[in-house]
Amino acid sequence: MIENIKAFLGDFFVTGDPMIYGADVSIALASIAIVVTLTYFKKWRWLWDEWLTTVDHKKIGIMYIIAALLMLFRGGVDAILMRTQLALPNMNFLDADHYNQIFTTHGTIMIIFVAMPFIFGLMNIAVPLQIGARDVAYPYLNALSFWLFFFGAMLFNLSFVIGGSPDAGWTAYAPYAGPELNPSSVGQNYYYIGVQISGIGSLMTGINFLVTIAKMRAPGMTLFKMPMFTWSILITSLIIIFAFPTFTVTLALGLFDHLLGTHFFTIGGGGSPMLWANLFWFWGHPEVYIVLLPVFGIFSEVIATFAHKTLFGYATMVCSMVAISILSFLTWLHHFFTMGNTAPVNAFFSLSTMLIAIPTGVKIFNWLFTLNKGRIEFTTPMLWALAFIPNFTIGGVTGVMLAMAPADYQYHNSMFLIAHFHSTLIAGTVFGVFCGLHYWWPKMFGYLLNEKLGKWSFWVFMISFNVCFMPMYFLGLMGMTRRMYTYPAGLGWGPVNFIITIGAFGMGVGFVIMAWNIVWSAIKGKRDTTGDPWGGRTLEWSIPSPAPEYNFAHIPKVTTRDAFAAMKEDKKRGREQKPKPFEPIHMPNNSGIPFIMSALFFVAGFGFVFKWYWMGIPGLIGVAICMIARSFVYDDHHHIPTDEIERTERATGRLS
């Protein structure tokens, strides 16, 4: 009996690696610290009422960003472990299995649990404010999206201490990920189920923001008067809605292969391993644009604001994004040119991939022309935006090199490819979300991040990024391929790898400075009393910082692009509108169901990971009960009375 329990626990928990034991201890200590702190300060009620049950888009946005920063830390630690292992030839810091698990979790976490939620966080905060709305179209669904992402991420992260991490790469290619070569299934199930749960949330976010932008714009804001960030989110939502269902089905089929013994992607039994790559990238390539287009929007806002000009080429910006959204569904094969397709197939996808460089190039030139003759102000968000242009262009140009199918046979899966996609994802997405974070921070919290620390973190991170990824292109051309856990001495790779590792640690330092900036500014940061610290052009800067619960005391009327810039101009010329009396504001009620339902998804998911149907099926029944319970909630809104609005507005100095 005791032997049985011992054997079970030995399989259940990951054992044998001192670093994992260290992680066990730190997880336990952190959990205890959180529970003790909340209990000691009697904050449980506050946590539940203000955060866990909230449907306020601003609070949901903040939670998304906190979760994304925590996941960025985890993904970053993974990266640093990998780079330490590769710093010198024949290193024994990680063994092969552990290295495989780490590059798998690094990729999955960075894409699914950092890039996506960071962008969702920023769009939750900015989009309703930019279009003059009081919340998103479906606030309850929004909370559900967040909690599904959160519990999906937690389930996936549990894998490295309980049961073992997936090790088939973030792309989880069959047949290695399949049941034939991965018979224990547990790690791979974590991937299928954790990503699936969070993917359901992503799909709902896409629907939510499409409807929000389509239906809830302030009067007068026609489509072509929307801020560019809102445009980018509209297009992104469209791509999410059409790309994510493919991924949902693909993950489900992969899971069926493990749980039910089906043969979709197996080698035997009529399955096709290549079909996994095909379906995965049919989602995976549009996904690249899901994490890029929003940051194009952020850069458009930031560059226009700090060049003190309207954005150059508004209509061509929109057309480029529409073109990208269509082309993004026609290029997926370039991820597996070398898998044995016929020449005409490779030629078509080669061309369609190069075509995408045209609308992207148009956007780059539009940003440059926006800067042209502008009064450029070098704030931290602007530095991130300016650094984006050259660094991202290098990633884009090497992308065109990779797009040439015959040449790709040389570059494929070499470190050249790794350098390419990090140049686009870091110089694009990461610079972009950091830019947006600094830019909208005062709107979220009512104080600014410190500029000096912000610039330090920018320079350290940006220079280290180049130290890390510039040599990597050459390392790829020297023949080193991705996913090698070690390499022999004498190939000339050692010094280059060592430089790359220095860069990786430098990026870690940059991140730590940014984290320190957040802590420092929370205590001593400059208050934003005006609500418009940057001289903004769009509606989010017309309201106090942090935005009140109802966002706009009066819904603004929009007549032009850059609506707030026009309002400020009107005010200067003394054409200000008379304030109208307040009216009670209709707001959605908080609800605990999204949290509970997502927690039950977590329980069900955990059960299915271990094929414990006694746990998985009741979990799903619980999910169904939550849905039924929600359908009987009739009292789902309340009104904020006028005297409360008056009090809030007076407190921010908006009423005299």
């Binding site: 302030a218 059409f242 493919t246 079909l275 049919f282 569904f329 197939v345 819904i555």
Partner: protein
């Protein structure tokens, strides 16, 4: 009193029993089990089985559109048409693309 513009997306649903959705649910279930029965219960030749279940899938997609997805409602039909057109484009890209890519091993 000045009537202020309220930008909320959701208008209150008309009260009453949701017959349309209930009928849609049962039709969808029936079609799903019918497809299962055609595939597993009948031993028709494969091309005929495929044709029949694809036909059933198209009927079910139409049921989804009309009974659940408010296809006939809304103020601006051009939005609906753009959505459908983009959906058809993506579906075509995926199915035709996959067949073309994987043709070498069929």
């Amino acid at each position: 009193m000045i009537k202020e513009y309220k930008n909320t997306a959701v208008k209150p649903e008309p009260k009453g029993f949701p017959w349309k959705q209930v009928v849609g649910l049962f039709l969808s279930l029936a079609l799903t089990f019918l497809a299962l029965w055609v595939a597993l219960g009948l031993s028709l030749p494969v091309p005929i089985t495929l044709t029949v279940i694809v036909g059933l899938a198209i009927i079910q997609a139409l049921i989804q559109l009309f009974m659940f997805m408010h296809f006939t409602e809304g103020t601006d039909p051009s939005h609906q048409m753009m959505g459908i057109a983009f959906g058809l484009f993506v579906a075509f890209a995926m199915v035709a693309g996959t067949l073309w890519i994987m043709a070498f091993m069929l």
